[in-house]
Symmetry: C2
Subunit: 159 residues, 2 copies
């Protein structure tokens, strides 16, 4: 059972700012939000205790590293009861970075990151086809990412 959350505007502002840039110091963030560094400290400690804040991650330019190809894959299963076993197999493919069980047309929805179309072709054709229970797949290759951002967090009806 989660602790009853009682977050105010400042908590959400801290989260929003640090989702963009976690390197900012408590003092500087305090200046930005018109409170003292001590208050930022107390709030972040609270957010960590609540389990809302779960550390920081390095932001990396994957394109610059050569990971140019992003695609989405809609997956049709032979039987939806096969979800767990197929998910387990998909997890073994490192190029697949995300998998969701979805309503609608597809049984599951995957995101894949590759270095080039050859690698994508290999995963789709050689690896996915081997997995028992997948009926067929539909691939949507991203030609351009228009934007990717964080959700705007606030306290309307939260917690």
């Amino acid at each position: 059972m989660p602790v009853k959350l009682n977050l105010d505007k400042l908590d959400f502002q801290i989260i929003q700012e640090m989702m963009e840039d976690a390197e900012i110091s408590y003092a500087d963030l305090g200046k930005k939000l018109f409170v003292s560094g001590g208050t930022i400290h107390v709030r972040i400690k609270k957010l960590q205790e609540y389990g809302i804040v779960k550390g920081t991650r390095l932001s990396v330019d994957l394109k610059a590293l050569g990971y140019d190809v992003i695609a989405f894959i809609g997956i049709f299963l032979e039987k939806s009861s096969l979800y767990d076993t197929v998910a387990k197999e998909l997890k073994k493919i490192p190029e697949i970075v995300r998998l969701n069980y979805t309503t609608g047309n597809y049984s599951m929805f995957a995101e894949i990151v590759c270095k080039d179309i050859q690698q994508l072709r290999f995963v789709l054709h050689d690896e996915l086809q081997k997995i028992k229970g997948i009926e067929r797949t539909e691939t949507f290759i991203s030609l351009e990412e228009s934007f990717a951002r964080n959700v705007l967090v606030n306290d309307t009806a939260a917690g």
Copy 2:
């Protein structure tokens, strides 16, 4: 023109580790990767100069904040030339956190994060429908996220 990258195994190991946890100190990361803290320092400086490393982001438990509903939206446009104007309109909707221009069935592919089904309904029905140029949409609500992780980076045919 990007600087010719010359990244070795250690660079990729540093990136991989810090994509999971950016709070680790140079000394500790050095221990983990069997080099000195000084070497980690030099490598990270290089990665920053290359523009590969772009700061750190706070990792937040959105579910705990009440953002329970994730959905994917396939969007059909009346004419694919309308992409830019529609993208601009979609960017104004804060619940839409990501938009890709894709090959395949749909013209564009969006991801949306909401607090509840009511909010999702509102965005789909009241906001998306208002946008000129959208023919129709297909929504896939995530019932479960099986996994979400970073791609495995390495130097095969990189940079």
